[in-house]
Each structure stands twice: as C-alpha cells, then as structure tokens.
C-alpha cells in the first residue's frame, strides 16, 4: 500500500492535492482512501491531508503513521512544530519540499533518515496573489515519484476533480502538474509501497491506568488568562502588514480597533505597533487605515535559524 501525506497551510490546496492524486490512482485501477485533517480550520493554519492507495480494498483508517511519501507545500512549515511534517518518518520515507533550497541541503539540515527532494515552486504558483496554491504541483510530483501513474492519467484526473472551476483553471493546473511530473522523472519509482504491520513484531502501547484526580485538576477549566498568547498565530501569516510611520497620522484607534486579533497595540504617544507573533496577515488594517499608511510585503520563505517570525 502507498501511504502518502501532504502538509501545507489552509488555502494552499492540500485537500485538493490529495483528491487529485487519489483520483489519478483510482483511474489507474487502485483502491484509494483520502481525507483532510484540520481542527477549527483557518486560512494559513497548518493542515495535512493523506492518501492511501492499494490494489486491495483498504481497511486502515485515520492519520498515516508510517508514511512512504510526504509532500510539503511550503518550506516554512518544516520548523513549525504544530505542522508535524516529520512525524513518524523512517529511512524508507521520501520527503518532497517545495523550496528554492536544494534537497541535499535540507537532508543535511534535518539529518533526515530517508530521501529528500527539493522542488522549486513553479512560476504559476508563485504568481498567486496571496498564499501560493501548490495542489497541482504536489499532485504532479507525487504521481511522478510513485512511478505507477502514467503521465496521460493526470489530465482526466484533474478534469474530473476540477470541472466546476472551468477550463482555464484546469489548463493552468494541468501545466503545473505535468511540469512537476516531468521534473520528478529522475526519481520516478523511488517511493515504494510499505508493507503491513506485523502482529508479532510490534511496539505494544504504553497503556496506563488513568488515575482518579479531583475536580480542581480534572475539570476542563483554564484558570490562567490570555493563554492564547502562547499560540504563535503569526506563523499562519503569508503576508505581512507594515506601518509607514512617516504617513501614520497617529489617529490612535482605527487600525487597532479593527484588528480582529487585537494584534495592534498603541503607545501612550498614539504610535501603533503590530504584534507579529500574533498577526495572521488578514490585512484588514491595511484596508481601513485612513491615510493609507499601512502597506504589505510577502512573508519570506522560512528563515532556517531562529524561527518564529
């Protein structure tokens, strides 16, 4: 069975990528299972999706714990612990990262046990206005890497899944998918199907007797205030608002009041400051600023050291 995981951010098309790939497998005669996994979903938040494909009906369910192939939409996710990109990897795992940084460099940085392949984002995906949409690139690359999906299967797969988006979207995505497929030809077939877990040689669960604890501990109460500050929602941001203080008229309230995440603080001298640990990059401040003193830059791909921003 092929067990494949897609990691990206809400809005990058990971659910679509899983749908496209499973459709291609299905057209090649495979049984499939695909699903997205996310919590209270928001654009920009890390999500993942998975595909299982096998010649036999699939009985396994739930998140993939022994991945044969992992595709990463955007290299800034690698260092985001809540994305869980590297969970359960082993020496058989192939990891494909959309990144300008070559695969060998990533392999060295991450001390990764399996194979890493870097794939630069296509011009089409990069030109996307907000979050780069990389579903077609992920699908094309995955189809190339597993080695059992023919190039000509991608078109009917995309057509079936994307019909409602119209001909031009299909054509654009097909071009991206085919170019990713072709780029993977040197590695075609390097992803091997994983076997079944043995009922003899396995790690038993570390079960415990869950202890009785009184309600001062065991009620689901959050006693501490403002704990949400500990969640760095700034990691969800793909665009960064910046304040041009030479144009800011120190009105003291418009941007900070409209910010839905209370991520703009105002000094006593009326100067606003953006809290980039928590700003999600929604750009409402940019839209409402009366003197247009807020502008936008794209977030840069992952800084490798020292993380959060």
């Amino acid at each position: 069975m092929f067990r494949i995981r897609f990691h990206g951010r809400g809005g990058q098309g990971m659910k679509t990528a899983a749908n496209l790939l499973s459709r291609a497998f299905f057209l090649e005669g495979y049984e499939i299972q695909d699903a997205p996994r996310y919590g209270s979903e928001r654009r920009g938040a890390p999500i993942f999706a998975y595909v299982r494909a096998d010649r036999e009906p699939i009985l396994e369910r739930g998140a993939i714990t022994r991945p044969d192939l992992i595709l990463v939409a955007d290299d800034s996710l690698i260092h985001n612990p809540s994305a869980g990109v590297l969970q359960n990897v082993n020496s058989r795992t192939v990891l494909l990262i959309h990144s300008e940084v070559p695969g060998e460099v990533w392999k060295d940085r991450l001390q990764f046990p399996g194979t890493i392949i870097g794939l630069p984002l296509s011009a089409v995906a990069r030109s996307g206005a907000q979050i780069p949409v990389v579903s077609a690139s992920c699908t094309g690359a995955a189809a190339g890497l597993v080695g059992v999906i023919r190039r000509e299967t991608l078109e009917p797969a995309l057509r079936e899944e994307l019909t409602r988006l119209g001909e031009s979207v299909i054509a654009q995505n097909l071009e991206t998918a085919l170019s990713a497929y072709d780029a993977m030809q040197p590695y075609a077939g390097c992803v091997k199907e994983g076997g079944a877990l043995s009922a003899e040689d396995y790690a038993p669960p570390d079960w415990i007797e869950i202890p009785y604890e009184d309600s001062t501990i065991s009620a689901p109460v959050i006693y501490r205030t403002a704990t949400s500050e500990q969640i760095q929602t700034g990691l969800w941001r793909t665009r960064r608002p910046l304040i041009d203080y030479s144009h800011c008229n120190r009105c003291s309230w418009v941007c900070s009041t409209f910010c839905p995440d209370s991520a703009i603080h105002v000094d006593p001298d009326r100067t606003p400051h953006i809290d980039y640990e928590h700003c999600k990059g929604c750009m409402i401040c940019l839209a409402v600023c009366p003197p247009h003193a807020i502008y936008m830059e794209k977030e840069q791909p992952a800084p490798i050291e020292g993380g959060a921003r």
């Binding site: 499973s22 699903a35 369910r61 714990t65 079944a196 877990l197 009922a199 790690a203 689901p220």
Partner: protein, 417 residues
Amino acid sequence: MRRTLLTGNGAAAWGARLAEADYVPAFPITPQTEIIEALAGWSERGEMAGRVVTLDSEHSMLTAAAAAAATGVRVFTATSSQGLLYGMEMIYTAPGWRAPFVMVNVSRALASPITLEADHNDILAARDSGFLQIHCATCQEVLDSVLMAYRLAEHPQVRLPAIVNLDGFYLSFTREPVVIPDQEQVRRFLPPFDPGNVAFRADRPASQAALVLGGSLYSYFRYEAHLATLQALTAYEEVAQAFEREMGRRYPAVEAYRAEDAEYIFFLMGAYATKAKDAVNRLRERGMRIGVVRPRLLRPYPARILQELLRGRRAVAVIDQNLSMGMGGILYSELASALYGMKDAPMLVSYIGGLGGRDISTEELFTMAAQTREAADAGVTPEPRLLYTAAELREVRKMQTIAGSKLPGHMEGKNDE
C-alpha cells in the same frame, strides 16, 4: 451504475437524492454540513426534485421532518452531536407518530469539553427513542444504508423513523470508492412510498399523538411502538435480501468477518470496524483464530443473531467508542445482557476507546487480542480498560500546566513557567 470517489457525507447525500426525498428540512453542524450543502446545490440546480428548507434549529428541523412525514411524503434530514441533542425532545416524540422518515447522524462526541471529532455517545443518546438505528463502517455502506433505511422504515409492519449513523471525519470527510446505483435500479428496490393511513391533510383533520392519562393507554401505545421496532428485525432480513438481489451487495443485520472458526472476536461498531478487520488479517497470519462481529442494526437489537454468532467462542473483546458515566461501555452491557445465562457464552473483555476521535492503533488492537486470549486462558475476566497511554497523559499535564491547574509537584509538565 457508476463507481467513483465519494466522502461519507457525499454518499449520504446521494442516498437521499436516489431515494427521491420530497422534502429535506435542514440545519447545518460540523461535520454534517456537506450533506445539506450537496442536497441544496442539487435542488437549486434542478437536479433533484425535492425541496430543501433550512430551519431555525434542530428542534424545528425534526418537528418539520416528522410533520411532513405524517402527510405521507418521503422526508430526509441530517444532524450531528449537539444538534441531535438540541432536537432530542422531537427525537423521542417523532417515533410515536408512527410516520417513517430517514435521518443521517454524523457522529461527533458531546460536550463538555467540546470537540468536533467522532464517538458514539451522541447517537447512543437516541438509543431508547424508538428510532431504528443502522451503523455504517464504509462510505458505500452509508449510501446503501440510506436506501435500505427508507424501505425498512416505510415497511407496513414497521412505520417508524430510522437513523443511519456514520462517524465524523473517519467517514464524513474521507473519500472511498463508492458505487452510485442508477435511479432506475433504486426505483426497483425502493418504489415510491405507499403511505396508507399516514396521510394527514388539513381538509381531513386528525389529532396526531393525543394526550393519554392514567398509564394504561400510554403503556399500550409504547408497547406497540416497541413491538413494531421488534418487527423491524424480520423486516430487515427481507429488505437486505431485496437489496442484495437488486444491487449485489449483502448487508446482514450483524456483520461477521472471518468469524466461522474464530475462538476470539473483536466486537465493535462504526468505521473502526475496518481497522479491526485489518488487525484480524494480520493476527491470522500469525495463527490466531480471531474475527470481527459488528452490529449494523443496533435498534432493534439483534440479540438472537448475536447469541448464535458468539456461542462457543472463547472470548470477545468488546470495544466501546462511548462511555456511560458511572457504568462503562454501552455495547458491552447490552451484549452481556444478550448473552447472560446462555450455555457456552464467551468471556467478555471490556475496552473503552476512540472517544472524541482518538485513534485506536493497530498495535492496540494486537494488544487487546493478546490480553483477551490471556484472560480466556486464565479464566479471569479483567477489569474494563480505558484506553490511554503514558504519552497522552504527559501531553495532558503540559496543557494543564499552561491552563494554570494546581498540579502537585510530581505531576507538573515540562512547560511549567
């Protein structure tokens, strides 16, 4: 007939569409919303003749469903979790009207604390309502069960509403290959509803479900509803045979997988049953004679079938994806009551797990199989086990520390400030 890829929610919507439901009162809730989105889209584009109407709550939705059913039209609706509970007054009221309709429930665990992921405490809260209940393990089964549920609910000897249950996320948002039958094929299996006396009209007023005092009248109607529910056991067999003749797929009231010669059995319902089948295949490679028994029909309860299937086994690992506070697993206690006093009854070992969407890993299933065999060898029934790992408890400690719980020193997580 067309074989394509559908989510469990997509399969449920296709079931309602192919059943040619006339009326769909709806209210959205995660993880059920896609079902009514699909139906609303088809209705809007004229691909489905039935009318989709959004109501102001699940209570109104169920009232509308039952009232429409009482006029003799075919009604479909869907809900989940907190929505099911919000409509609970009508869940218990509707069956007494003896007007059939089908509702899909997408299982999601109940508050508190609140979550979005699956377990079966929501659907089991409707256990004693008089609704028939069919539980699904695959997306194909969801589509097929909606069709079967109509024929069962509308059966002249039954005339009760039915719930088809599927697990949130594990089925609702998971795509699998599904055969969508042709409309003509479905019409042969499920002809238009012949409502008979279920035909309320404004110009022929009748009083639906009257007030009865004194107990005797009340008891009569309740006993009759119970007896009608039991009729559904026989009717189910007829429906399953007709379905197999038309569609070629067989759905017994209780599914038995590799159970013919099995000494040990995993007993559970819902989507995790396929995981148990996978574990059975692996365990059989290592020589263990083990199988899966899965009740599809939970109401009426197929007690006799379970007695026949489980007689003479050494032991059964009952896996409850639910928890009755202060008692334990609901499937376990129901199975124990069905087998009590039976000659050659197997030992029952109780496991509680999968609450709020927690995974039950293949390794855990292997361990349950091993423990169940050891318990049978020793002849001593172990205490019920609440599946939980040391790693999970460590994660809880971290969260409690962040939340400011006053943990004793030895319990504190690494993230304490």
